[in-house]
């Protein structure tokens, strides 16, 4: 197996504080990989470095073997590195249909064409329909997103990321804030993501992590504390003291 997303000795300093300290990390093709760590471990900074919100102080980010350390956020998206957000970031005045179409048209490279019609591209239409069906949004596709229940909005958050056709999908706490009743549907959605999409899950909820991930990386104080298969991580005494023990009490 080869790494599709990789970082080498990634360092980010804010003033005197080192938020991520020489993180070397690799995400295998088709992986179901979870990134965990207590609050302040540097997860958010790490994700921001991966997606291009922040530039690293030193170190390299590679996507599919190519150096993307200095690429813009949107350029990384076009290369297939896509994320969801911990707090929903949606096109609230649009319908789910329009939002998926907007993301899809951008991926198809239509976004700059100002004279063509939206319904003229057969690919745009069928791909939008496919995603609406896959994420079971077809029954609400004409409602305004802002009026939909939170669980549905969370679903759209993931569907919209998927519409950008990711090779690597970063899911930032996908189930955060979703009520118990709607949680199951959402987790099914995550589990049903196609195998060729490599997924990095950033998560607090250990149930979700152990149910979903085949590999886990533990981040503590900006450093990789452990990295390996779920049962090995669960047994790792260092992880237990630094993180799991704390979570079990909290």
């Amino acid at each position: 197996m080869s790494a599709v997303l990789e970082t080498r000795a990634l360092v980010k300093q804010f003033g005197g504080i080192t938020a991520t300290d020489r993180i070397s990390f690799s995400l295998e093709r088709g992986a179901r990989h979870a990134l965990i760590g207590p609050n302040g471990a540097g997860k958010t900074t790490f994700v921001n470095l991966l997606t291009g919100v922040l530039r690293p102080t030193s170190g390299v980010v590679m996507l599919g073997g190519a150096d993307i350390t200095t690429l813009s956020r949107e350029a990384r998206v076009r290369l297939g590195l896509v994320r969801t957000f911990q707090i929903n970031q949606l096109f609230a005045t649009m319908t789910p249909l329009e939002m998926i179409a907007a993301v899809t048209s951008e991926r198809l490279g239509l976004g700059a064409s100002s004279f063509s019609r939206l319904d003229a591209s057969a690919t745009l239409v069928t791909e939008t329909a496919d995603i609406l069906a896959r994420f079971r949004l077809d029954d609400i596709m004409d409602e305004t997103i802002a009026t939909l229940p939170y669980g549905k909005q969370r679903q759209i958050e993931i569907a919209a990321a998927f519409a950008a056709k990711p090779s690597v999908l970063l899911l930032d706490e996908p189930a955060a804030g979703v009520p118990e009743a709607e949680r199951r549907e959402l987790l099914d959605t995550v589990a049903a993501l196609p195998a060729d999409v490599s997924v990095l899950l950033i998560e607090h909820d250990m149930d979700i992590v152990f149910r979903f991930a085949t590999r886990i990386t533990v981040l503590v104080n900006g450093q990789v504390l452990a990295d390996g298969a779920p049962d090995a991580i669960a047994r790792d005494p260092a992880v237990r003291t630094a993180y799991l023990g704390e979570a079990a009490h909290g």
Binding site: A92, G111, S113, S114, L118, D119, V125, D130, A133
Partner: protein, 340 residues
């Protein structure tokens, strides 16, 4: 979904229909434009006022492109109106009197100014944008004032003689040609704007307006798109300025005045932003209001406009827009249902 393939193909049909629906012409729209033409025959003595309305509508349409569709607030849109007006006026004075040439030059000049100043509105929040655009607007006014050897300074550009439209139609005292010309330009540019906002580009603008973070995370190059629509909007405002210069045959520093920027914002706020007709409806309401008020108190009409603004923002808007929405919903209910 018992038969996914079938459902999916039906779904694709629905998606196509939904994407088409937004750009399909509605009967009410046709009525609006027929009404605009009919007005010329119904009120032949009001043509000059109607010409002003058409020009203001175009100016407001241009603001709607950035405010309603891309979420860029501006308090200096008069900069582009003025650029268009002076360019068209100068073309008529020094180069050729053909109105279409002046219109084209006015649009190009303003579009260029929009392109050059677009980096200024890409940064910062609403507040910074309001101030930066205000600053650019005032800058242009100062510039026009300082360059009096070109602009005529406080005296303005005088003695503009317009040639015949299409070499045929003379600009008359009653505003017949003027109104037809302005309405024609407004219509053509409106159709173009309508096409653009319903294109993939237009959808990406709405994406940026709704949520810049997600738009970027979906691969939308935010800055380029905003610069493009800002340039387009500036060119539209330039067209309005050119029409103003050509049909009144006069350009003064007033076209760059702050009240122009504030007025057009008011027009759009009255009519509602983000559906293209807001500026058109707003300009009709605004001009009638202005005409009515200045009928009995010409000097102090600004007071009443100000009062109107204050009351409008304090709570009147919900009332007016609620009414418009109710009417639209009625109209929509007359159409066959949206769902298959």
């Amino acid at each position: 979904m018992s038969a996914p393939d079938l459902a999916a193909s039906g779904l694709a049909g629905h998606v196509r229909a939904s994407l088409m629906l937004s750009r399909r012409w509605h009967t009410a729209e046709a009525l609006f434009w027929v009404g605009a033409i009919a007005a010329a025959f119904l009120f032949p003595r009001q043509l000059l006022l109607m010409n002003e309305i058409a020009i203001l509508a175009l100016f407001a349409l241009s603001l709607d492109l950035i405010l309603g569709y891309a979420g860029i607030v501006s308090l200096g849109h008069a900069a582009f109106l003025g650029m268009g007006a002076y360019s068209a006026g100068l073309v008529a004075l020094h180069i050729a009197s053909d109105p279409l040439l002046g219109l084209f030059v006015g649009m190009a000049a303003s579009g260029l100014l929009g392109l050059v100043t677009s980096p200024l509105v890409l940064k910062g929040n609403d507040l910074t944008r309001l101030m930066v655009t205000l600053g650019v607007g005032l800058l242009m006014l100062e510039l026009a004032n300082a360059l009096s050897f070109i602009t005529g300074g406080a005296d303005g550009l005088q003695g503009i003689m317009m040639g015949k439209l299409f070499g045929h139609f003379e600009f008359d005292l009653f505003g017949r040609t003027a109104y037809a010309y302005s309405l024609g330009v407004l219509f053509v540019l409106f159709v173009l704007a309508r096409r653009i906002v319903h294109s993939p580009f237009g959808l990406s603008l709405r994406a940026i307006r709704d949520n810049p973070l997600r738009a970027t995370a979906s691969g939308v190059p935010r800055n380029w798109r905003l610069a493009a629509v800002y340039t387009l909007s500036a060119a539209y405002a330039g067209a309005a300025g050119a029409l103003l210069a050509q049909t009144t045959q006069f350009v003064s520093l007033d076209v760059l005045d702050f009240h122009r920027s504030a007025d057009v914002m008011l027009v759009l706020i009255i009519g509602g932003a983000g559906y293209l007709y807001g500026g058109l409806i707003g300009s009709i309401a605004f001009k009638f209001l202005q005409d009515f008020i200045s009928g009995f108190t010409p000097q102090y009409w600004q007071f009443w406009i100000g009062l109107f603004l204050v009351l409008f923002v304090l709570g009147g808007r919900e009332m007016i827009h609620g009414g418009i929405k109710a009417v639209l919903a009625r109209l929509r209910a007359l159409k066959p249902g949206k769902r298959p």
